[in-house]
Symmetry: C2
Subunit: 197 residues, 2 copies
């Protein structure tokens, strides 16, 4: 609905934040800490940004907390079009198909913004996905670290329903977390073992 006198830059940004609202309807495979329901990707993104704010002191040298938080606020927006792919259900073929869907989603969603800003945020999302810079690796490590924390709190409700073993968590989560957050892995590893062994 175009109204007279609307500033097109403001209108574009307003359309982007309104469209982003749909991330609140994307359900993840991880529950709340109380096990009462599955979490959605919007509240998950908030939680990860709060993790980054709280745990910044444990980041490797050279990590810029503000860039990490910006990445985490954006990192799941592509799920609005592509959906959430639970980590324990992925195969090489499903990952390749998902990467194409996510690429198209990023083009559509960041394309709602003024061109320069959309390109900047799309580049930040790609940096996260590629997980090659220290900021992106730290952001990815937090994204891997939070679901075990939810499972520890809920006595492993989402792990148990997916028959997840300690070896699976160690292989798919442990590697990324150990590399960027060794102190935090040391905190959770014995708790994961106690739950799943």
């Amino acid at each position: 609905s175009e109204l007279a006198g609307a500033d097109p830059v403001v209108a574009a940004r307003a359309a982007f934040v309104a469209e982003a609202d749909r991330l609140k309807t994307i359900t993840r495979a991880t529950t709340l800490c109380d096990g009462s329901r599955f979490e959605n990707s919007a509240e998950h993104s908030w939680h990860l940004a709060l993790y980054a704010l709280t745990l910044a002191e444990h980041a490797p040298a050279g990590v810029a907390p503000f860039r990490v938080i910006r990445m985490l606020l954006l990192h799941d927006l592509v799920e609005i079009d592509a959906g959430d792919a639970p980590i324990y259900a992925q195969t090489a073929a499903s990952q390749a198909a998902m990467a194409d869907l996510e690429e198209a989603a990023a083009a559509r969603l960041f394309g709602l913004l003024p061109a320069d800003q959309g390109a900047d945020l799309n580049a930040l999302w790609h940096e996260f996905e590629e997980a090659e810079t220290p900021d992106a690796r730290f952001a990815k490590a937090l994204d891997r670290f939070q679901p075990p924390m939810q499972n520890i709190a809920s006595d492993g409700v989402s792990w148990r329903s997916n028959n997840v073993t300690y070896q699976m968590v160690d292989a798919r989560v442990g590697a990324a977390v150990r590399r960027s957050l060794p102190d935090l892995w040391a905190h959770v590893a014995p708790r994961i073992a106690a739950l799943l062994d």
Copy 2:
């Protein structure tokens, strides 16, 4: 559950982010843009941080976007103990009682963290509440601006169910938004009028 060898600083930060998870269970008076359900305060906090990231160019001179985003990530945590107080239901007496509850909530929640960090985050939350610095005013303006955006998208579902008028929105929301975000108020004011007049 204390495990041998746990680093107490890591354990404190892990306890804080796990407790913060409860913000996902606090329901607000505003719905999603699609009107399908009320939003919760965790996903709302994510959305506001995304607003700040997207709309930083419209902030008054001197506003530091990272401080604003940190404030917004934290601003509703006290609701875990104190609940959400819908803006159109507040009186002077209910506001004073709520302020006491929120003060105690902040002491408890930020008190889970290592002392220095807890004091820093508690001070940031107080800065937001007092709304006197440019960063806090911008953060508060975004917090006022987002519910009208949700109502415009949902054809005013939560306003209609509370018999909200244009004059009420203008008085309780317009003043704060106009001061910090005049371009954005110019964008939404005619849309609000079209919906509520």
